[in-house]
């Protein structure tokens, strides 16, 4: 399996001078293609910071963080923007554009790829069908339920066939049934498309979808070997 993300001894700090506070300590983590990794940890442990660093949304400081073979530490801003196009983000809130229909929201992501608009449109509709929203293609976010919106967000993240999916508590706003469906969808599509997925979650109901579990506490990462042990604990 090839490494999509390779992190070595990554440290991250907020603030400067006396107020400088270290958030992440010597993070080392590898994500492989086709893998679903769950990241757990109490709030304030640095999960979101790690996620934004991996997603090229924040500048890295020291250590090494390679996404798709590209070093993000000290990378220029334009390079970060380009790398983002290979990453599918699923946010805690769905963050859909309210003025666009489900199909248009997904197509906004597809249009970042070098595709003809007609193809982008077609793929967006296929992806919405894949997440079970074939009959909601022309609905606006305001006309859909929380679970449906989150599925649009997943379709948007996956339509451009990203090499990596970063999901921040994708089930937090959902009931257990639709939350389960959403995570299984991420798992299924990332297996099909061979991309690495990192899901940040507090939700113990979904631990079994993970290939690996990692735990972040006080900025330090520990790996739990098998998902089975954690599910039983």
């Amino acid at each position: 399996m090839s490494a999509i993300v390779a992190i070595h001894d990554l440290n991250h700090y907020y603030g400067s001078g006396e107020l400088r506070k270290q958030i992440l300590f010597d993070i080392t983590l590898t994500l492989n293609a086709g893998e679903v990794v769950l990241l757990k940890g109490p709030s304030g442990s640095g999960k979101t910071t790690l996620l934004t660093l991996m997603g090229a949304l924040r500048s890295c400081q020291t250590g090494s963080l390679q996404v798709l073979g590209q070093e993000l530490v000290n990378a220029p801003k334009a390079k970060l923007v380009n790398i983002r196009r290979n990453i599918g983000y699923i946010f805690q809130g769905h963050n859909l554009l309210h003025s666009l229909t489900a199909r248009q929201n997904v197509q906004m992501s597809a249009e970042l790829q070098p595709l003809r608009s007609a193809v982008a449109k077609q793929r967006s509709e296929q992806m919405l069908t894949a997440v079970g929203l074939a009959d909601h293609i022309d609905y606006y976010p305001a006309q859909m339920s929380g679970g449906q919106k989150q599925r649009v967000a997943i379709a948007r993240a996956l339509v451009s066939h990203p090499k990596m999916i970063l999901a921040d508590e994708p089930t937090a706003a959902l009931d257990s049934k639709s939350g389960r469906a959403v995570v299984e969808l991420i798992q299924q599509l990332s297996k099909e498309q061979g991309c690495a997925s990192l899901i940040v979650t507090h939700d113990n109901r979904i631990l079994d979808v993970a290939d690996r579990l990692v735990h972040l506490e006080d900025g330090r990462l520990t790996e739990i070997n098998t998902s089975a042990t954690l599910v039983s604990s």
Binding site: T48, L51, T52, G55, L57, R58, A78, V81, N82, R84, R85, I87, Y89, F91, Q92, G93, N95, L96, L97, H98, S99, L100, Q104, Q107, M108, S109, E111, L112, S117, R156, D168
Partner: protein, 382 residues
Amino acid sequence: MKIPLAWLQLTHERMRLLIAMAGIGFANLLMFMQFGFRDALFESAVVLHRRIQGDVFLLSPESTALIAMDSFSNRRLYQSAGVAGVEAIYPLYIDFALWKNPETKATRGIMVLGINPMDDFLDLPGLADAKHQIQREDAVLFDRLSRPEFGPIPDLFATTETVTTEANDKRLTVVGLFDLGASFGADGNVIASETTFLNIFTNRDAGQIEIGVIELAETANPEAVIRRLKQHLPEDVLVLSREEFIAFEKDYWETGTAIGFIFTLGAGMGFIVGVVIVYQILYSDVADHLPEYATLKAMGYGDRYLLTVVFQQAIILALIGYAPGFGISSLLYVLTAQGTSLPMAMTASKALTVLFLTVVMCMGSGAIAVRKLSAADPADIF
């Protein structure tokens, strides 16, 4: 076609769009009315000019406007009669006299036009019928549309057929009426024969005129004749084409008075009102969409894409706000023209000027509003 995000975001919120259209339309209206009044006032300054039927005009180089005319020798006009392409020449005398209101005996400056009663180059309603009457010495025609301060001459004339009064202490008889109208410089007008004119203005030389009107042969090329006239005549007269003659008068009022400044300032206020309205709309639009813009940045859209969206919205607002602004202004022009008898007209140049200003206005607001975009930080959305 790519997703037209700017358009979709604007049209998704109908109420806000409607308010934006109303605001921009109102700013348009302010600009259109100010420009309209300004142009109408300038146009009213050249009502007489437009009524003079001539192709080329001779003026003294010292003349600055109808209210400040210098005279030149009518020999220059006779000299021009010999130039190829000149069909006819007409001398026009202009001076201001103190007219005595026959009822109140109050005096007021009135413009007196002196013509040869045989000449036919002033296209004024009523003049053709009454003109022969001014061959009588000290008989004048009075402008029906003069301001009322000169006395109820038209009423008196209708009841008594002749009205006698004084101008520059010279006894005159009104023997007819014509229509011209008050302008900036002249509150009222009187037409007299050359002889009467010289009787009123006793200190004038007989051979001095204010405007030399030249009519060209139909086949003549005006530019060529003007070139020949300039070669033929000494430097002590100006040779102007019809357009130059009108522009000469307008230019005086535009640059020599505060009128242009006042109305341009008014239009500037409209512009600023527009900037503020469009800024408010674009700013709140950007602020409301910040999480969405941050999401787009996280997906891999660059700053330039978002800048483009905001400026596209600015241009769309400019165009859809301009349409009702133009429509209502055109209607108000017609109503104002009817109500004030000012020559208000929607011209292509005015329409384009305001359109251009509207686009600049919206782009300017957009340029201020995009500063808010930097607040869209993709690192904040997780």
